[in-house]
């Protein structure tokens, strides 16, 4: 059913519609004003400050060696994290849907913990167990491995929560037919299950990629605050610039980070849609 436009509603409701429409206009204005003051105006200021010197200036910022290093580190670690997420996220979803064991619903609820737990607490818990005073003698503090661990923690739910409903809805007839015809379980997974999960898997991976690129709270304690360690991801460099009142440099880096996560969301979204379209045909 098509939504009724306000104009179409006028004759039907008679006199009431006029006050309704006036109210709608006021509400529309208030809502847009709220959004503008809190979200749009600040983002406009960010875009303006970052591109004030032209794209050349942004490019110049990128080519500063420390920035380039941070950019490479951020993208590299995030990419590795996304690959691990894709594998383990799918595996966890599989176990939650197809397996049955005692305490499964508790494990299912646990998946959302990283969304509910503050990121600074996530970083601190990892640092407490896998840091300098680790009781199990594993120390990943101030390493890239530590950053990856922190990002894995906060992005854990994305792939699992994207894949899970698809797996639940997946008709098992095809798999059973393949098994009857003699296909091994690996072949069934690769040829039947994985193509069906593809779009959801890519959508979840895209979200976790974008989240990993911008993450700050979880990595700040683990990465430390020393640029010489080579553990400064983009968000940390931007934070350092803000602390030093280097707003134009911070804005340029923010612009790069923003463009990067938008590109990631766009590419993964398109891949996901292309894959689902291909599968339907």
């Amino acid at each position: 059913m098509a939504a009724l436009s306000p104009a179409a509603a006028v004759p039907r409701r008679g006199g009431v519609a006029r006050t309704d429409d006036a109210a709608a206009v006021v509400v529309r204005g208030l809502s847009a004003g709220y959004l503008s003051l809190i979200v749009l105006l600040p983002l406009a200021a960010l875009l303006w400050t970052s591109t004030r010197g032209g794209i050349g200036a942004v490019w110049q910022t990128i080519t500063i060696p420390t920035v380039l290093g941070a950019l490479e580190l951020t993208v590299g670690v995030s990419a590795i994290v996304v690959i691990i997420n894709a594998v383990f996220g799918t595996l966890i979803a599989w176990v939650l849907v197809r397996d049955s064991f005692r305490g499964k619903s508790a494990v299912n609820a646990l998946i959302d913990l990283p969304f509910a737990l503050p990121t600074i607490v996530a970083g601190l818990t990892l640092l407490a167990l896998y840091g300098p005073s680790s009781p199990v003698h594993v120390n990943v503090a101030y390493t890239r491995m530590g950053i990856a661990l922190a990002l894995l923690f906060v992005t854990l739910p994305f792939v699992t929560r994207a894949v899970q409903p698809v797996l639940i809805a997946l008709d098992r007839d095809m798999e059973e037919a393949a098994a009857v015809l003699g296909a091994g379980s690996l072949a069934i997974f690769r040829r039947i299950v994985l193509p069906n999960l593809g779009p959801a898997l890519l959508a979840g991976a895209g979200l976790s990629f974008a989240r990993a690129l911008g993450e700050f709270g979880a990595v700040t304690l683990i990465a430390g605050n020393n640029p010489l360690r080579g553990t400064q991801v983009m968000s940390l460099v931007i934070f350092g610039d803000i602390q030093g009142y280097q707003f134009s440099s911070a804005a340029a880096l923010s612009f790069i980070l923003l463009a990067l996560s938008l590109a990631v969301l766009l590419v993964f979204g398109r891949l996901s849609r292309a894959l689902s379209g291909h599968h339907d045909r």
Binding site: A3, P6, V16, T19, V27, R28, S31, L35, I38, V39, L41, P42, L43, A45, L46, T49, F88, L91, I92, W94, V95, R98, D99, V107, A109, L110, I111, D112, L113, L117, P118, T119, I120, V121, L124, T125, L126, A128, L129, S133, P135, L152, F153, S185, A210, G214, E215, F216, G217, T220, S235, F239, I242, F247, A250, A251, S254, L257, L258, S261
Partner: protein, 263 residues
Amino acid sequence: MIARFSLRLVALGYLAVLLVLPVAWIVWSAFGGGVDAVWRSATAPYAVHALLLSVLIAVIAVIANTVFGVVTALMIVRHPFPGVSILNAFVDLPLGLSPVVVGLSLVLVYGATGWLGPWLTAHGITVIFSLPGMILATVFVTLPFVVREVVPVVREVGSEQEEASRTLGATAWQTFWRITLPSIRAGVIYGVVLTMARALGEFGTVIVVAGNIPGVTQTLTMYVEAEFQNFDPRGAYVASLELAVLAILTLVLMNVVRRKGVA
């Protein structure tokens, strides 16, 4: 059978190493010095102030974004206008931004050297490095949740009951309180829970716009960071524990609302 068992083992092992053991270890470490030490850390003046400040900011953000969220959701579904899809896209924006980027963009408008800085200074208003800025930052990052949860519910409920109520002579206000709000309650509560959780846990955005002065402009998440940097891990662990308890309460509430919403 063996394959299924080993898959289960790998999945649960991964969750244990990444999630369960670290969180359990924090709880264990916090209580390592006995319950008295936990109580002392939890009731330290700055810790108490930080907790209260976090709750205050979260409550304000929840109220502001719930009003905005319900009104905007009703508008998006019931009174679509040209450009509503743009509004829809803008509402989602905060979800895709890095916290420090959000903080910076607020500084560029409301900071002393920002767009509105001179005007604010002339009128004696400080936003950045004080409470208004922290509220603004929290409202920014939690803005999408209520809208996102309420829009599909409004769409699903439809407008027949509201039209019936209007036909029977109820005012728009009565219709909203008696018909609309009760029917979208589950979505609103879910959105509020998500907003509350995110607001209490926000760190990156708030630390950029807050002065981070203990006992004045330091939230509980900032207190965790400061205590850890000041070599008082127990203080950090205990404050983390408070935040973790709030997170777990949130999870439980989410599950309750989700189950009720389905039924």
